[in-house]
C-alpha cells in the first residue's frame, strides 16, 4: 500500500506526534524553515512515494531534526546522498550539535567523513570497542590495518584536514598482480 503523504505533511506529522489535533502557524513555519535548512523546500508539495532515495533520506533527517532532540541517533545518514548533499547534511548536523548542544551519535562507514566531522570516534571491531577517543588520535595506520584490513596512510591534506588514503588491501590472495 503506497503512501500519498506529502513532504510537508510528513515533516509536520513528525513534529505533531503526541500533541493535539489543531495546527498553528508557528508549527507550519517551523516545518517550512526545516525544509529550507535542508534545501528541500521545493519538494514541499511532492508525495513521498515520488521522491528519490536521497530526497527521502533528507526528509527523514528533517523529521528527526524538527523534533529538536537532545540526543540524535543517525545510522548511515549519508548512504543515499550525492557528494554535495553528504557534505551539506553532515555540516548542518555538526552546526546544530554545536548551536543547540545536541548530542549526535552517528554510525558511518566513510572514515574520512568521520575524521572531518566527528569530535570523538569509537571504532567497533568484531562486536567489541577496538579504540576510542578524539578523531585524530584514534585513526592510525596500525588500526586501519587491523580493523579494515588495508594498508593506508593517515596524512594531512593541503588544507590541514586529516585524510585516510588506502594503498592496498591486506586480504590474503589479493596482491599487486592485478
Amino acid at each position: 500500500m503506497r503512501s500519498s503523504l506529502l513532504v510537508f505533511e510528513a515533516v509536520l506529522l513528525a513534529s505533531k506526534q503526541g500533541s493535539g489535533w489543531s495546527v498553528d502557524n508557528d508549527e507550519l513555519d517551523a516545518v517550512t524553515r526545516m525544509l529550507q535548512l535542508l534545501k528541500i523546500d521545493a519538494l514541499a508539495g511532492r508525495a513521498l512515494a515520488q521522491l528519490s532515495g536521497g530526497q527521502r533520506q533528507l526528509v527523514s533527517i528533517a523529521q528527526a531534526l524538527i523534533r529538536e532532540p537532545s540526543v540524535l541517533l543517525l545510522d548511515e545518514p549519508t548512504s543515499a546522498l550525492d557528494l554535495q548533499n553528504q557534505f551539506d547534511v553532515l555540516d548542518l548536523i555538526r552546526r546544530l550539535a554545536r548551536e543547540q548542544s545536541t548530542c549526535v551519535v552517528m554510525a558511518i562507514h566513510d572514515i574520512n567523513h568521520a575524521l572531518r566531522f566527528a569530535d570523538q570516534i569509537v571504532v567497533l571491531h568484531k562486536g567489541a570497542v577496538q579504540a576510542w577517543g578524539p578523531a585524530s588520535e584514534v585513526v592510525t595506520p596500525a588500526l586501519l590495518a587491523q580493523v579494515y584490513g588495508v594498508e593506508a596512510r593517515v596524512e594531512p591534506c593541503s588544507r590541514g584536514y586529516t585524510q585516510v588514503i588506502v594503498d592496498s588491501s591486506l586480504r590474503a590472495g589479493s596482491n599487486a598482480a592485478w
Binding site: L6, Q17, D29, T32, M34, D41
Partner: protein, 355 residues
C-alpha cells in the same frame, strides 16, 4: 528555532498556504461526502412500500399531528432502518480504515479478516442447534449475542497470534483469510445437517439485512461507534505516522506494536457489534476507506471522518437501491453492496495500475 535558518517571509507564507489549501480542499470533500450521505438518508426515509407520498411521510418528522399510520411508518419502520444504514456503514468503514492502517495492507477489512464469517457461524449455531448463552427472556438478542461472541473469539485469536514474535502484518492478513475458510466450512457443515426451516433462516441471516433494526440496537451500535472513533481520533497523528513505515514511525516515538494491537481489537469490536445485528455486509469496510484515502489522503484527522461518512453514504445509497431495484420488494442489502462494490473495486484496482 534554528538560528542558522534564513527567515524568508515569502516562503513561510507559501508553506502556510500549501497547508491551508490542503486542509480546505479536504474539508470541502468531507462536507460533500457528508452532504451526499444526508441526501441518501432523506431518500431512504421517503422511499418504501407504503402508499403515502414522500412528503407525507417526511412531514411526520416535525408534525406531531400526522396520521397515526404515517407516524408508525416513519418512527418505527423507516427511521430505525435508515439510521442503522448510516451507523453500520460508518462503523464498517472506520473498522476497515484502521485495520488497513495498522496492518499496512489494502486488503484488510472486517470481512477479509474472517470476522463476518465467524459471526455467521455464531448465528447459525443459535438458529440451527439452538445454542444460546442468554436466558430465554432475551430471545431477541440470542442470535446477535452468539454472532458477537464467535466474532470476538476470532478477533481475539488474531489479536493473540499477532502478539507473537516474528509475526508480520502479511501473516496476520493470511491468518484472517484462513479464518474465513474455516468458518465458512463450519457454517456449511451446520447447513448440511440443518432442517429446511432453519436453513432458510441462516441463509437470510448471512445475507445481511437492515430490516432487523430497532431503536435499542441502534443505540448500542451508535455508542460503540462513537467510543471507538473517539479512541482512534486521539491517536490520529500516530496512526498517520504508521503510513511512513514501521521503522520510521518507531523512530518518531510511536509504539507501533501497541497501536497495532489496539487497532485490531477496537476495529474488531466495532465490526463485530454491527455484523451481529445486521449480518454480513461486504465491501463497505473494504472499499469506503479506499475511496476516502483517494479523496483526502493519509492524514487521519481527515481520513477517519471521511471514511466514516463514505461508509455511511455507501450503505445508505445501497439501502435506497435495495428498495428501488426490484419494484415492490426489498432486496437484502448485503447483496446490493456486493453487486455495487465489485465493479467499484475493479475500477480501484485498475486505477492503481496506472499510477
Amino acid at each position: 528555532m534554528i538560528k542558522s535558518a534564513i527567515d524568508n517571509a515569502v516562503t513561510l507564507e507559501q508553506g502556510r498556504n500549501l497547508y491551508s489549501s490542503l486542509a480546505t480542499r479536504r474539508l470541502f470533500l468531507l462536507i460533500v461526502i457528508g452532504g451526499l450521505a444526508i441526501v441518501c438518508f432523506i431518500a431512504d426515509l421517503s422511499i418504501g412500500q407504503a402508499h403515502y407520498s414522500s412528503y407525507e411521510v417526511l412531514s411526520a418528522l416535525w408534525d406531531s399531528d400526522a396520521a397515526l399510520p404515517i407516524q408508525v411508518i416513519l418512527w418505527e419502520i423507516r427511521l430505525p432502518v435508515a439510521l442503522t444504514a448510516l451507523v453500520v456503514g460508518a462503523s464498517l468503514a472506520v473498522a476497515g480504515v484502521e485495520m488497513q492502517t495498522v496492518l499496512g495492507n489494502p486488503l484488510a477489512s472486517p470481512f477479509t479478516l474472517g470476522l463476518s464469517a465467524a459471526a455467521s457461524f455464531g448465528a447459525a449455531l443459535g438458529l440451527i442447534l439452538g445454542v444460546s448463552i442468554l436466558p430465554a427472556s432475551a430471545v431477541a438478542f440470542a442470535i446477535p449475542a452468539n454472532a458477537f461472541l464467535v466474532s470476538m473469539i476470532a478477533a481475539l485469536f488474531i489479536h493473540r497470534l499477532s502478539q507473537k514474535r516474528g509475526i508480520t502484518t502479511e501473516m496476520i492478513v493470511l491468518l484472517g483469510t484462513t479464518l474465513v475458510f474455516t468458518f465458512t466450512a463450519l457454517l456449511e457443515a451446520l447447513q448440511y445437517i440443518a432442517p429446511d426451516q432453519a436453513l432458510s433462516a441462516v441463509v437470510f441471516w448471512t445475507m445481511g439485512s437492515l430490516s432487523r433494526a430497532s431503536w435499542l440496537k441502534l443505540a448500542i451500535m451508535s455508542i460503540v461507534l462513537l467510543a471507538v472513533t473517539l479512541m482512534f481520533a486521539r491517536q490520529a497523528w500516530a496512526l498517520t505516522a504508521l503510513r511512513l513505515g514501521e521503522a520510521r514511525a518507531t523512530s518518531l516515538g510511536v509504539s507501533v506494536g501497541r497501536l497495532r494491537l489496539r487497532g485490531i481489537l477496537l476495529g474488531s469490536l466495532l465490526a463485530s457489534v454491527c455484523v451481529a445485528f445486521v449480518g454480513t455486509i461486504g465491501f463497505v469496510g473494504l472499499v469506503a476507506p479506499h475511496i476516502a484515502r483517494m479523496l483526502v489522503g493519509e492524514d487521519q484527522r481527515f481520513l477517519l471522518p471521511t471514511s466514516a461518512l463514505c461508509g455511511a453514504f455507501m450503505l445508505s445509497a445501497a439501502s435506497v437501491l435495495s428498495k428501488t431495484l426490484v419494484a415492490g420488494q426489498t432486496l437484502p442489502i448485503g447483496i446490493v453492496t456486493s453487486l455495487v462494490g465489485v465493479p467499484l473495486f475493479f475500477t480501484l484496482i485498475l486505477r492503481t495500475r496506472h499510477q
